[in-house]
Amino acid sequence: MAIENMAFLIPVLPALAFVLTFFLGKKLPNGGAIIPIIAIFTSFVISLLITMNLLQNPGQVVSQSYNWFAILNVGILIDPLAAVMLSMVSFVSLLIHIYAVGYMSHDKAQPRYFAETALFTAAMLGVVLSDNILQFFVCWELVGLCSYLLIGFWFEKPSAASAAKKAFLTTRVGDVMFLAGIILLFADIFKIFNGSIPQGVYVLRFDEIFSHIPEIAALNTQIFGFEVSHLTLITLLFFGGAVGKSGQFPLHVWLPDAMEGPTTVSALIHAATMVTAGVYLVARTFPMFIAAPYSLLIVAYIGAFTALFAATMGLVMNDIKRILAYSTISQLGYMMLGLGMGAVIGITAVGDSLFHLINHAFFKALLFLCAGSVIHAVGTQDIRQMGGVGKVMPITFATMLIASLALAGFGIPGTSIGVSGFFSKDPIIEAAYLFGESTENWFPYLFSIVAALLTSIYIFRLIFMTFTGKPRTSYGGHESPAVMTVPLIILGLLALVFGALTKTSFGNFLKETFGNNFVSIDIHALAEMGEYHLASHGSGSEPLIILWMPVIVAFAGLLISYLIYGMRILDMSSIVSRNNPIYKLLYNRYYQNAIYTEFLAVKVVYEGLSLAGRSIDRGFDWLVNFIGHIFMELADGLRQLQTGVVQNYATAVITGVSLLVILLKLIMEVF
């Protein structure tokens, strides 16, 4: 059992690496990259060992917690959910660090880069490990900080600096909602304990929260007229935080701009790890979601809509990284949809969406890294200027192709042949179908199918525009060095094989998450509270056509993009032009920029409230000065009384005497 008490090392080692690289980085070769690589490797090994242990006896969960301050604690919880995430995060981060050694080789601020990525990994591992909601929030914000620092890595570029600010602010809006959820949760628990929390009870720990779910659900408040249960409010506020972090519909604007940072950063943070933190939050607090009426439905709808919405925009992007960014948003939409399907398939939803999360991490990281090596070689990010890169960079082309196939999701349902993307996305679509069947609400299913179609269209558009055809501009493309291609190959293998191997064992491994020594909940009892009636049978019993639909759609997408971009048989100029309203709408990204920055941030907040506030403040200032001014005026006025003539003084004395007598006489009469 020695491995359990090594668990705290997982986040601590990368944090140590951050401190060392930050200060000693300059002196070491290529910015001291070796330190974080070693640290993350050890964390990966430890988490892998713990996962192995957990696989044997899933009931035995690692859980340690120590007193932090007042009634709050700091602790570690590794249950199947956390173990899987730990291994994925450390593994992907390790590969990307190795890749970054090559990618950042000629950048002069390498120590700072490696320090920040090491800190990011530590924070992300912290998020995954934490056993209470407060520590979760603390690491959650630290992850936000690292993304701010890394997006704004090349801070000389004003666009990078403003992108970083935009990213931090938008995620901050989500974090505020998350904080509000924690505050509401704490207040309710405080009420439940009616004012005095017994010694040694850590209020915000997950087991404590889950054990009080029934009481919290009982409390409800009036908001805008209709009755809302506190649990729904808390879960939706948590979901608000997840929307902010994972770039779901209203708060996704920052993710495309986050591409300003180096590609390895995009790969690590905006593909594999950070953005999935939102999904992980919903997964970690899944019992609360399932016990809260309506909240899972809202998760599902937003997830589905984002999937479609992002995919439409992905179609028209010309910058290679922005296409992948929208693809990430779309896939995250899928994961949220998967969790939302918990309303119909219960706990397995967590397994499905986590499975998609892990696979997506692999092939999306791979896509970004390939894009990185293409940009590294070609020098531009605009796919219209690329073409025929495949001949020059065979390995990158091959791995990119595998990743695209995985993303589109090719495979034979029912058998274990297929790309990992297929095995993870398919159950979600089937669950959507089941959801449609049981609640007559077909939107999620429709959105997911159309999104799948668009996904394969835009990914293969990218493949054909960059790798096939004649080179449109002259570039001295050369294959990336070994240090970059090796991680590509490893990720390529995983993208191909991982799905098939672990599709069943992954599912039931994750079922154990909420039934172990740390916390044991009866999902069905909670579901009743949430008014969700879980479908009795698992997926797989749909008619044949539904089973094959995802694969058909993937092929259709491949065919369409091959015709348009591969063979160039259709003349796209009529569609891809300014006057085509739909294209313009998509190209301008539904004018979000205009809505968010110009109107909301600048007009309403800045001009409206701040400048108004400043004028009020000037009013206060003027008031204080005015009082001072009155006294000076009065002083000059009264000063004139002193005429300097003796006779006037005498008159003043005498009048004073006579008036005083008369006045006193009056006052005496009155009182």
């Binding site: 006779q647 008159t651 005498i654 009048t655 005497v657 006579s658 007598v661 008369i662």
Partner: protein, 100 residues
């Protein structure tokens, strides 16, 4: 003897011209006077009914003398200092520096 006959009108106008610039002072003085007179009138002074006439020596110099040097000797002494200091001050102020 008046070599010119002054008509009542001329006297009145002269009086008016005299008082016109000083009307304010006039009003205040009359106000003060009124206040003093009313307060005197409304007080009932318990004065003795008959001033004690001491038929044999009309003057009360002896009484005053006795009083000055028994009860009120302190003011007397202070008065001497007053006169001395006023004298000194007045001479200092009045004495020119011998030029004109």
């Amino acid at each position: 003897m008046l070599n010119k006959h002054f008509t009542i009108m001329q006297i009145l106008t002269a009086v008016y011209n005299f008082f016109r610039p000083r009307i304010a002072g006039m009003v205040i003085a009359i106000l003060f006077f009124a206040v003093v007179i009313t307060s005197i009138v409304y007080t009932s002074w318990n004065s003795v009914d008959q001033i004690p006439q001491n038929p044999m020596d009309q003057s009360n110099i002896k009484g005053i003398g006795m009083l000055i040097f028994t009860d009120l000797v302190v003011p007397f002494e202070i008065l001497s200092i007053v006169l001395l200091s006023t004298l000194m001050g007045a001479i200092y102020m009045a004495k020119g520096d011998g030029t004109q």
